[in-house]
């Protein structure tokens, strides 16, 4: 791991300097704040918009607030994960900066590890900010959630996002341009979406983790969580290992 610490510092500084970290944090903050609000007031919006029609809309509950948050994060969060990861290696190869960095005394493994770690730090900071905002607004509009359960749910959501980011990162290692890398991430997303609808195996996809996150946030416990979490974490490791196998002998 020669040079890892230096490269990680450079990555985090770059995430900040290029505005990616603050932008992702603000976007996640927006959706963290918006989710409980929308869950609470969507029935009122529907009633106001269709005041001449008699529509029965059930009273929103805290479950709706958590479901709205998870739904938004599995759409916008995944989009952000793909956009962040797509250029992480491919962009540097395309611009020639990867070759410039790798002539210095740093290993290729450290280069890749620092790249993904920087990405993970950005995603983790964004999920933390989103979680804090959602927790505050859910408390304000509905009732307080248990801190431990909600924190565990946020970690599970983060794992799902990192999984999509890791597959896009693999794509970014395989190709020399950001757009095809994003395409690989989107294909992985579509495949995960299809597999998640299948019985028995759906829990082992990033989308399958949403149900687990919901249980953790609302009940603080979840049954049968171990294998889905282990499998999804395994996918992250496999994607990163594949990235390393590709990158270690790749002509830059």
């Amino acid at each position: 791991m020669r040079g890892f610490a230096v490269l990680l510092n450079k990555e985090i500084a770059e995430q900040w300097r290029t505005g990616r970290l603050p932008v992702v944090a603000v976007i996640f903050l927006l959706f963290g704040l918006a989710s409980p609000v929308l869950a609470k007031y969507t029935p009122d919006i529907v009633k106001l918009a269709a005041s001449t029609i008699d529509i029965h809309v059930p009273t929103p509950t805290i479950k709706d607030a958590v479901a709205e948050l998870i739904k938004n994060l599995s759409q916008i969060g995944v989009l952000a994960a793909i956009l962040l990861a797509m250029g992480s290696v491919a962009g540097e190869k395309e611009a020639g900066t990867a070759a410039f960095v790798l002539v210095k005394p740093v290993s290729r493994f450290a280069f890749l590890a620092a790249k993904f770690s920087g990405l993970a730090v950005t995603m983790a900071a964004a999920v933390l900010i989103c979680g804090l905002a959602a927790y505050l607004y859910t408390d304000l509009l509905f009732a307080p959630l248990t801190v431990v359960g909600f924190a565990a749910a946020c970690l599970v959501i983060l794992l799902g996002l990192l999984e999509i980011a890791a597959v896009t990162f693999l794509g970014s290692t395989l190709v020399r341009s950001s757009i095809p890398a994003a395409g690989i991430g989107i294909v992985a997303l579509v495949v995960a979406g299809i597999v998640s609808s299948l019985p028995n195996v759906g829990h082992f996809t990033p989308f399958g983790l949403n149900e687990l996150a919901m249980d953790l946030a609302l009940r603080q416990t979840a049954t049968g969580w171990d294998w889905p979490v282990i499998t999804n974490a395994g996918f992250v490791v496999v994607a990163l290992a594949a990235s390393w196998l590709v990158f270690r002998r790749q002509e830059i």
Binding site: T18, G19, R20, V23, V24, V26, I27, L29, L30, F31, L33, A34, V37, L38, Y41, T42, D44, I45, L48, A49, N72, I76, L79, A80, L83, L84, M86, G87, G91, A95, Y137, L140, L141, S178, A182
Partner: protein
């Protein structure tokens, strides 16, 4: 998309004669959301029209339309993937 169109519908309804049905507390709750969403659009446009800014595809007008017309997704895509790093 649905999320933001809901939000805009709600804000529109709040600003019309129905405003009396909306409490001050609710407007205070909504204020950060409006500030953040508008802030993202304004920040993206200011960044886009900086003379030294280079964008993917090279056409700033197209990006301006994406930022303004494609809801919250537009600024997100521009800020995370539309800018060429200098």
């Amino acid at each position: 998309m649905i999320l933001l169109s809901n939000m805009r519908t709600f804000l529109l309804l709040s600003s019309l004669p129905l405003a009396s049905q909306v409490s001050t507390n609710l407007l205070l709750i909504l204020l950060p959301l409006v500030v953040i969403e508008l802030g993202l659009v304004v920040f993206s446009l200011v960044d886009l029209f900086r003379p030294e800014r280079r964008v993917i595809g090279g056409n700033k007008l197209v990006w301006a339309l994406i930022i303004v017309l494609v809801g919250t997704i537009g600024p997100i895509v521009y800020l995370l993937a539309g800018r060429k790093q200098t």
